[in-house]
Amino acid sequence: MSHQERPMKISKQLRQKAQEFLSCKRNRRNLEDILHHFDCGADQHSCLLTLETVFTALLKEKDMYIEVVPLKPVEKTPENLHKQWLREVYEETYKRILLCLENPSPKIQAQALSTAMNIISAEGKCPLESSIRLENYVPLAKLKAVLDKMLSSNQNNMLIINKYTEYLLYDDILFFTWKLLPTLTPKYNPSEVYIMNYLMLLHKLDIYQNSEMKILCGDDSSPFFKFDDNVTKKCVNKVWHCVMHWDHSHQTQKEMLLVLHEKVMPHLEKPLLLTDFLMDSLDVPGPISLLALQGILVLIQDHNLDYPGIFEKLYSMFEPEIFHTKYKSRLFFLSDMFLSSTHLPENLVAAFVKRLARLALIAPSEDVIVICNFIGNLILRHPGLKCLLNNSDTSSYTSDPYIMEERDPLKSNAINSSLWEIRTLQQHVQPTVAFAAQFINTSLPSVEWDLNQVLSRTGDDIFDREVRKFSKLILLHFEKPQEAEKHDRVLQYWNL
């Protein structure tokens, strides 16, 4: 009980002290008490709240505002001295608040961020000094300090960055974050944690203005500040130029490719500069190469990139392991795009078809359906491949002419083979798969199969569909259990 009561009491006390201080600002003692308590390290949360109320009130009432007359020293009236002192305390406290961002507790982190941003907002509305452009004032130094803390190289600040996105809804914060970002970007290899934080922040930043036009520092009524897309775009280019040259681990590279596809790519001035980077990424196995492949696809489609070895690369990606990755549907989607051209050599496409068919022999059911439809589509696009399905050549082979181990699709001799694998899959235990493999028995349809429908299907979906299928016919085993036990395979292997 006492343990619970204490912080309650203390927060009450702190609030009381803050009230007293605000009612009588001469009395430094109250403020000093609060600050002292804040330094102790206990009850950070309530301290932050109290300090926020104190300083926002001070800023609002312009208690720290000193009139500066040009070419005139500030008079040393006791009032000005007091203000001077308050300002020192203010700056000092701000730094202390930012330190709380490194606090291990996420609650205090979040509170510190909101306190800092509230103070920035208050200062933006009532600046400390009379600047020339009085209305357009965002305390850049303070914002920069926040960003600096956020892009820490010691800890993963995902929570803070997520919280910060709430403030990015304000146009001015978004704009000035962009503006500050190039100055915060190091030229040479930062630590991995830093890169992760950085990419995460980049992921959250929008290039364009928010639709709501909210402004944090200053009134909404006076549209003093103009959001300039060109500036932000320039900043993206600048920043990306640095990011590309950092040393990346696999983790960060994946993150970076994701950010690249989702945010940055459309705004780059010279996307072709990415080619080398993407080529390098393509050699990394796993999802990274897939993401790089997507980038290259964009470059080929939109920017006329010519990359001769791309099909070999794509071919080498079809390995049994893909069925256990999350990105398999993306791979199927991309390869569908790559192979959509009807001007590809049949030899090459046949190699893809054979390889897919081989993989289908060991693939999970949902993927077998995708592969069957995909193969069907490829054969529809390249009618020359019909020889894989229908070849009147009656000579018999001792082994499949297709060479699975060959890296080069053109040399794999697939065009001389036949799709025995699909014939095999017609005996799959699952009726949906077996039906999907039926397509080789009849003449092909005139319209391609829609891959998008089956790409996202999982084993669960197939289960649900099967369970929902309803027929009135209920079929039971007609052999009595004692007879059936004789060829019960389970009993042949198990002592039950």
Binding site: E321, F323, H324, R358, L361, I362, P364, L389, N390, N391, D393, T394, S396, Y397, T398, S399, D400, S418, W420, E421, R423, T424, Q426, Q427, H428, V429, Q430, P431, A434, I440, N441, S443, G459, I462, F463, E466, V467, K469, F470, I474, L475, L476, H477, F478, P481, Q482, E483, A484, E485, K486, H487, D488, R489, V490, L491, Q492, Y493, W494, N495, L496
Partner: protein, 887 residues
């Protein structure tokens, strides 16, 4: 104003029209009739339009237009209009009465408007002839006035003659012709007196009749008891007269005769019927297994020269090569059946010679390797190569034969329940003790039989169905497994669905309870209790089977529900193995449902479930690995008949092999998930080649252990290889079999087989050999799509119609015919409408030109008149001028 033909006129309309036509025909003007010449005369055809009245109908049409179109034309572009708002005035259909009614209702409605709603007293009381309706409804006085009014002329009204004479001075003119006529006043007096007199008479008559009826009523009431008693007496008298002879005769006449029924079947017939039924079921099962597939592979390979290609041979050949029932009516699968058949023949001859016969069998099967099944082949080969395990193998065979022997008597006594159920038990026992020597088996068998008998005696004979799951639990608690089986069996027998109304539903409930029981039994099972749980399960399997057959829908639904529920649990945690109870449910499903179907509502989801488990759950320890292996054996069981392919099983089994490869080199040996390529948990640490392994089957307790030990490693390897060879045997026919088993071969070659016991070594070597041999002797033919049947050319033969009626009937579906009919009608109507519009236009044109001509004429006349007047004036002027000049 398109003319609308109302074809379906009421009969009265028709009658009227007929009458009119008759009238018109009577005074038909021969100059108006136009006869349509007929070009081709068809005998027997009725013609509707052989003659017409063009002039008349044109006149009618013009008349109609004058009434309608002309009126519209006249008021066009005019904004003011007189509207007659009297109710029903403009509606020609309403009769005078209807109009009155409508007006009256309007008034009444008006009376119920807002203002008058509070005038409570205003409610009118409906009356009928002065009495309120409510009074009449009481029917106090049955004598209504109707009778009075019927007789004589109407009440109080004057005589027709009198009116003729007296009113309106009618009599004045005729007066002179009549003698003794009185004055008008006298007449009136006479009239009044007469009517008074008539009224009085009427009253008298009425009173008299009333009196009479009342009297009659009272008399009737007195008579009633007399009438009744006399009736009763009449009937009683003849009843006594029936003598015994009649009675007996009647009894004999109405005695229930024996109805015609089937004669009692002999046992042979019953057996044959049973067999036929089973064969029919098997045929259906095969059809389902094939699904829509019409594979070429299933077609007979051999065709006789006389084959008519009508598929008649098809069934026979297929039956022959897939499945047969031997004499005992015992269903067996494929080649096993053939082998068994051989064995049984020999057995019947001499029991002692069986060993030699077996050898002979082996030889024969060795010779025709292609036909013999891989499984039996491997088994037999073991015997020839290894003398050590010959004995063990033999015992297995022996038990099999025992089985058959014990089966034989049962077939003769199928009708007797007791022996039948005993058979069940003996079978079960034989299975469980199959590894023991023959003598022991017999002894054990007898002992068990005794125990069973005892149990039967100990337990009460009747059990009621449990109302709740808890009562069932209480009943089964602390009972040994065979007792539990018997309890449930008796429960089903005592409460058979045909015995009472709600039994079927209750048995369905029992099924659900039993499922719950299994679930609880295994989900809480531990290493120690699992064995007994399995015993219980085995004991209640036959009962569950029976229950399922009693109430199919219920069994189906409840099992599907269980599978769904389990899958929903599993879905949340994809990487963790579900409980052991799930495996038992899958096993139950394999025994209850036909797993070989292409698509089955329960089995297909199970396949998906097992596939998901095999693909997603990583085998981290012994229990998990065994779990996965159990699932693969389940798949083996499910697909043993249909021989279908599930990639995940081969993947899993080859993963087990991979775990047995020692990973020494730097080179990574790839294996697909859920196995890890670095795992080598199943590598034997010591050389076990000299070990004697009696029992290499997996133990249920393996499902609950976590640590791998050497025995287990040997066991799982052995069983995995065995399962793989069986899978290979099943999938041999598939064209890509080599590719499927390629990793298996690769892994097997990497395993140091010399460390394994000899039995295991041979099995593995066999598998390697078969796989290699298959690879070498592979025969692949390129896929050729079945040539599509050429479309037949259109035939130009005469079309023969049996009954010819002039119309040509097109062959088309009902919907299409209906549609065509409607389209035709639409076209006709459109034509008619266009024609009408054209005529309208012509009519209006005529009206306009007439107007124009008339106005022109008027103008001309006017001009002429003015000219004439002017000329006249001029003439007068000229005349005056001339006069002046003359002057």
């Amino acid at each position: 104003m398109a003319k609308v033909k109302n074809k379906k006129r009421s009969s009265s309309d028709k009658a009227q029209a007929n009458k009119e036509r008759l009238n018109s025909k009577k005074n038909l003007n021969p100059f108006e009739v136009h006869i349509n010449r007929e070009k081709i005369r068809v005998i027997g055809q009725k013609r509707k339009n052989d003659r017409g009245l063009p002039g008349v109908s044109r006149g009618n049409a013009i008349e109609k237009r004058k009434r309608t179109l002309l009126q519209e034309y006249k008021i066009q572009n005019k904004s003011n209009l007189f509207m007659d708002k009297r109710i029903g005035e403009r509606n020609g259909h309403l009769t005078e009465d209807d109009k009155v009614m409508a007006r009256f209702t309007a008034v009444r409605i008006k009376a119920h408007n807002k203002k008058s709603i509070y005038n409570l007293a205003d409610d009118e009381v409906l009356t009928h002839k002065g009495q309120t309706l409510s009074e009449i409804e009481k029917f106090d006085d049955p004598r209504s006035d109707d009778e009075d009014s019927l007789e004589g002329n109407d009440t109080g009204k004057l005589d027709k003659d009198f009116v003729e004479e007296a009113h309106f001075g009618g009599g004045v003119l005729k007066k002179t012709g009549r003698e003794g006529a009185t004055s008008h006043r006298d007449l009136i007096n006479q009239l009044i007196a007469e009517s008074k007199k008539r009224k009085a008479e009427k009253q008298q008559v009425k009173e008299a009749t009333l009196e009479l009826t009342e009297k009659l009523d009272t008399e009737w009431k007195d008579l009633i008891p007399l009438v009744n008693t006399s009736k009763c007496n009449d009937e009683e008298i003849p009843k006594q007269k029936i003598n015994d002879y009649d009675k007996i005769m009647r009894e004999l006449r109405f005695e229930a005769r024996g109805t015609v029924s089937d004669r009692l079947k002999t046992e042979d017939e019953i057996a044959r019927e049973e067999k036929e039924k089973l064969e029919q079921l098997e045929k259906e099962r095969l059809e389902r297994m094939k699904g829509i597939f019409t594979d070429k592979e299933n077609k007979p390979t051999h065709r006789s020269a006389d084959d008519l290609d009508d598929g008649i041979l098809y069934e026979e050949v297929f039956d022959d090569c897939t499945l047969s029932y031997n004499k005992e009516g015992e269903a067996n699968v494929q080649i096993d059946a053939v082998l068994n058949g051989k064995q049984i023949k020999i057995d019947n001859e001499d029991n002692e010679n069986q060993k030699d016969d077996n050898v002979g069998d082996e030889n024969s099967s060795d010779e025709d390797m292609e036909t013999a099944s891989e499984d039996s082949f491997a088994d037999l080969k073991e015997q020839t190569s290894e003398s050590e395990d010959e004995e063990a193998q033999n015992t297995e065979e022996v038990t099999e034969i025992e089985d058959e022997l014990s089966k034989q008597p049962s077939l003769h006594n199928t009708s007797e329940n007791r022996t039948h159920s005993e058979e069940k038990i003996t079978n079960g026992i034989q299975e469980s003790v199959s590894s023991e020597p023959q003598d022991h088996i017999k002894e054990d068998l007898l002992k068990r039989k005794e125990i069973m008998e005892q149990a039967r005696k100990e337990l009460p004979y009747t059990f009621s169905l449990p109302e709740s799951y808890e009562t069932l639990l209480k009943l089964l608690e602390n009972q040994p497994s065979h007792h539990q089986g018997i309890i449930i069996e008796r429960m089903i027998k005592c409460n058979h669905a045909s015995l009472a109304e709600g039994n079927k539903e209750n048995l369905g409930l029992l099924f659900a309870y039993l499922l719950q029981y299994i679930n609880d039994l295994f989900s809480e099972a531990t290493k120690d209790s699992i064995k007994s749980s399995c015993d219980i399960l085995r004991a209640i399997f036959p009962q569950i089977y029976e229950l399922a057959h009693l109430h199919k829908e219920n069994a189906h639904n409840s099992i599907l529900e269980v599978v769904k529920e389990k899958y929903d649990d599993y879905r949340k945690k994809k990487k963790s193995y579900p409980g052991v109870e799930l495996l038992m449910f899958f096993r139950l499903i394999s025994l209850l449902f036909s797993t070989s179907d292409l698509r089955h509502q329960v089995v297909t989801p199970c396949f998906i479930f097992i596939e998901q488990i095999l693909l997603k759950c990583p085998p981290r320890d012994r229990g998990k690995l065994s779990y996965g292996f159990f699932a693969t054996t389940l798949i083996l069981q499910y697909t043993s008949l249909s021989k279908r392919y599930l990639p995940a099983t081969i993947n899993y089994l080859s993963g087990i092999l991979h775990m047995a490869i020692p990973k020494s080199g730097v080179k990574l040996i790839k294996v697909s998930r859920p196995f890890k390529s670095t795992c080598s948990d199943l590598v034997l640490l010591e050389n076990h080649s000299l070990d004697l392994c009696e029992d290499l089957k997996m133990n249920v307790t393996d499902l609950f252990c976590t640590r791998y030990d050497e025995q287990y490693k040997i066991r799982i390897f052995h069983n995995a290889v065995k399962a793989l060879s069986e899978f290979h045997n099943n999938l041999e026919g598939l064209p890509s079999c080599c590719e499927i088993f390629e990793p298996v071969l690769r892994y097997l070659e990497l395993i140091p087989l010399q460390n394994y016991p000899v039995i295991v070594q041979t099995i593995a070597q066999d598998l390697i050999l078969t796989l290699q041999k298959q690879k070498e002797n592979r025969q692949l033919r390129k896929i050729v799509r079945e040539a599509e049947r050429p479309k037949a050319l259109r035939l130009y033969e005469p079309k023969i119609v049996e009954v010819y009626d002039v119309k040509r009937h097109r062959l088309q579906s009902k919907e299409k015919a209906e549609r065509n009919k409607l389209l035709h009608k639409l076209r006709q109507e459109k034509k008619g409408a266009l024609r009408e519009i054209r005529r309208d236009k012509e009519f209006l044109g005529r009206v306009k030109i007439h107007q124009r001509i008339r106005s022109d004429k008027e103008r001309r006349d006017k001009v002429n008149r003015i000219y004439a007047e002017a000329a006249m004036q001029q003439h007068e002027l000229n005349a005056m001028d001339r006069k002046k000049r003359k002057k």
